[in-house]
Amino acid sequence: MPKEYIWPRMRTCLEDYYEMLLRCNKCSLCKHLWPANTYSWKFGYQCPSGEEFIFEQYYSTGRLEMAIAAIEERLDMKVDDFLHALFTCTACGSCEATAEMVCTLTPLRAIEELKIKAVEKGGLLPEHAKLMESCKVNHNIYNQPHELRFAWLPKNMNVSRKASVMYFVGDTICYRRPEIALATIKLLRRLGIEFGILGEREHSCGEVFFRTGNVEFGRKLLKENLEYLNSLNVKTVIFSDPHCYRVFSEVDKYNLNRSFECVFISELIEPLLQKLQFKRLEKRLTYHDPCQLGRALGIYEPPRNILKSIPGVELVEMPRSRRLSFCCGAGGGVIFAYPEFAARTARRRLEEVTDVADGAGAKTVVTHCPLCKDNLLRVASDFNVEVKDIMEVVLEALT
């Protein structure tokens, strides 16, 4: 039952948020941008699920009321409408970016606790259960054979399996967007960085399970990877998937130990840019901030600085960028459970891409997340827009 006030950092379960949930005064500032930041009314909204499904339970304001009702045991957490309202949250954190600033509320954290509680009560979505089953058998969420994890790696490209610096590739890149890994590997070699990959010992990082309330299973997967990496006496692990990077960066939160340093690829490359020789690349680009990299981890500038360093590149910002970036629609396990909704959100984002530069639009949208790229690519042909990962752009610009 409801507890007294719990210090924000000490909140560990949904009940700890009860006092905070009551403090949401429904000002609705989490739904929109501020007027001064609103370039156009068309791009003034922030919540992907709220914009799609309209009703209050699809905004954080309504979800917090659902959380109160769940704590007070007034709502059945297994029924479809509850699960639909809850798991259509893309965990993008745009509501939290405003609510935390305005009135120290952390709606996303409360919503994630609500997801955990829903799963505990038997509300695991069948689509998310399939991801779990796939991981048990194939060690990846895409239900692909484990032996194909590195099938994209050319046979003539020898990469060590043991080194002090390792590159953790991740499920989405391995099975959906291997071109990102190939570009990353080529770039690391060009920079003279010696590194290895885990090969068949690399398993799913479990991030999607942390976002979909199945924390225990996610923790199990993360622990397996950590134990192996710790046993290799690795000093540094490089990531090019922000989802993987986030869970490895937050191991303390899950009571796990890590004996190595985590580095995200753009943060690694940014200080080494002078080592790279770029040719001129005549392109007007816009950069889409992945939610997990931007709002969750605070990495906004390194990717932009890399793009700006390429001669000929015109980087134009979308109306919603950096902390106010709009979600691509894939996060929070939404792309697996509600792919149509994820695609519609991607459309909304690409509409913005075609509207930048005072309506002139950008022909290329660059992102830094394989899941964002995968989701945006599903609808990109309708907008005649090219979707690229930043590693691919850098590789293209190299002489």
Binding site: P35, A36, T38, I54, E56
Partner: protein
């Protein structure tokens, strides 16, 4: 939302026929999500569930919904942005009309400084469009998420709005669906053949004031035409902090005498703490971290004037040990938002310069009014009101006495002869606030009614047994008669002004 998730019943099915299944919901989650609102917890103490929620997008759809509800005697409540519009949630079940999809901007007439939009358009959306044309809306201190319909027809619970219709007067026309389904257009919009809209009043008596403070009880406002005002060549907010209230007051008086800053307000730290803190302890931390008194100033005019005003502000601030802290802390984004919408209008030459509100941000609040040179007397009153309630404990003992002296917000009136003083205590826990409101809110209202700050005890509302308090009897009789004619079944938001006649 998939149709399978809804629970069919006759009302749901009929509404689905009107709107389509995507825009009607009666699932338990929907009803829970629409059961709470900023003031609901303060006044009700518990949630009230509706039975169906609809999200129409046109006047015709609202007309059909109201006609259906009237025919079947189903209560209807209008849900706007759930803030600054009391009781926008259902008190007696029935249908909630969520205005989110009524958000289109119909026209911005730059030449005549007029904007027409649907009532569900957020201030943010309209303001963003107007700013592109160097125009702004003249409205009080509302979050930019408020909807224009509720904001301008209801206004804020303050003297400027309640007494002289400061916000209401910025409308020149509205369209409304009456409780019987009739569409009424008023003001300039009443003239179907006149394309240009300038005047709020047509010839002879009309129903211009019908939606005012009505909270949907006389129908649903669907479209409004609002006057806009031109922004100067340049506008710039400045935030000055002082460690001493005396310094802040002296600086403020000097700003007034120098006739600089079109917008200005003086906030105690607790104002910021009230918005930003989640508990008494965190309010205390913010208080320690932030400067004690904040002054939010808006400089407006030609570029040269703004440069000169900024120079003067810096000189005066320095003289009284003030520090310019604009953009130093993240919460100032909030200030910038409010300054843009509020300071440019509320404190500008277009409007009166006083403003009152009951803080909805969480903390307990006291309000008073007094001459600027007699702040101390008013301050004592609000301090007593705010700090000597049982629920906050004895102010002379313990945590409050040691750490949290109440703060002040001073709103000077035009010419600086009068000031409204808002006293905010530290952040408190919401359950305690709920309990406290039974004593604090009536005390605040009583004082404001007695001092002429407010017309009645409930911001233009009254409840059975209290009808004689603050409202003139003729007004009650008149409005009751109107209501009986327009809404014989009392379906429109029953239980707020008029008690339910059925069930």
């Amino acid at each position: 939302m998939p149709e399978m998730l809804n629970y069919p019943n006759l009302v749901y099915e009929r509404l689905r026929d009107i709107l389509g299944s995507k825009y009607v919901s009666n699932t338990p989650c929907t009803l829970v999500a629409y059961a709470a609102q900023a003031h609901a917890s303060l006044f009700f103490g518990k949630e009230r569930l509706s039975e169906t929620v609809v999200t129409p997008s046109t006047t015709a759809e609202i007309q059909n919904i109201i006609t259906f509800a009237q025919r079947n005697k189903i209560p209807v409540a209008i849900y706007s942005s759930a803030v600054f519009a009391y009781w926008s949630i259902s008190k007696h079940g029935g249908i909630i009309i969520d205005m989110k999809r009524m958000n289109k901007i119909m026209n911005v007439d730059e030449e005549n400084c007029l904007a027409t939009s649907q009532a569900g358009c957020p201030l943010q959306r309209l303001t963003a469009e107007l700013l592109k044309k160097k125009l702004f809306l003249n409205q009080g201190g509302a979050p930019s998420s408020c909807l224009v319909g509720s904001r301008f027809t209801y206004g804020n619970v303050n003297k400027a709005s309640g007494r002289i219709g400061w916000e209401y007067r910025n409308m020149v026309g509205w369209e409304m669906v009456l409780p019987d389904g009739t569409i009424l257009r008023n003001g300039s919009r009443a003239n179907a053949y006149e394309t240009e809209q300038f005047w709020a009043h047509g010839p002879g008596p009309d129903l211009w004031l019908l939606p005012r403070y009505a909270m949907g009880q006389f129908g649903v406002v669907t479209e409004i035409t609002i006057r806009c005002h031109t922004l100067d060549e340049e506008i710039k907010p400045l935030w000055v902090s002082f460690n001493d209230i005396e310094d802040a007051q002296n600086a403020y008086i000097e700003f007034v005498h120098a006739e600089i800053c079109t917008g200005s307000s003086l906030y105690s730290t607790f104002k910021t703490a009230g918005y930003a803190a989640d508990t008494t302890e965190s309010a205390y931390r913010i208080t320690r971290m932030f400067p004690e008194i904040h002054m939010v100033l808006t400089l407006q005019g030609t570029s040269r004037r703004v440069v000169w005003e900024e120079k003067r502000v810096r000189e005066i601030a320095k003289k009284y040990n003030g520090r310019i802290i604009t953009d130093k802390f993240p919460p100032f984004q909030v200030a910038f938002d409010s300054q843009l919408s509020m300071a440019a209008s509320i404190y500008s030459e277009y409007t009166v310069k006083y403003f009152t509100t009951i803080g909805s941000g969480g903390p307990g609040t006291g309000l008073s009014i007094g001459a600027l040179d007699d702040i101390e007397a008013a301050y004592k009153f609000v301090k007593r009101l705010n700090m000597e309630q049982e629920w906050q404990g004895n102010p002379n003992k313990g945590f409050y006495a040691d750490t949290c002296a109440p703060g002040l917000i001073v709103y000077p009136s035009e010419g600086g002869h009068y000031a409204l003083i808002e006293c905010m205590g530290p952040g408190i826990d919401q359950p305690a606030l709920r309990k406290a409101n039974s004593s604090v809110v009536p005390a605040v209202f009583s004082f404001r009614v007695e001092t002429g700050l407010q017309a009645d005890m409930h911001g233009g509302q009254t409840v059975p047994g209290r009808r004689d308090y603050g409202l003139w009897p003729t007004y009650i009789e008149l409005i009751t008669k109107f209501h009986e004619i327009l809404d014989p079944n009392n379906i429109m938001h029953p239980g707020t002004l008029f008690p339910p006649m059925f069930r």
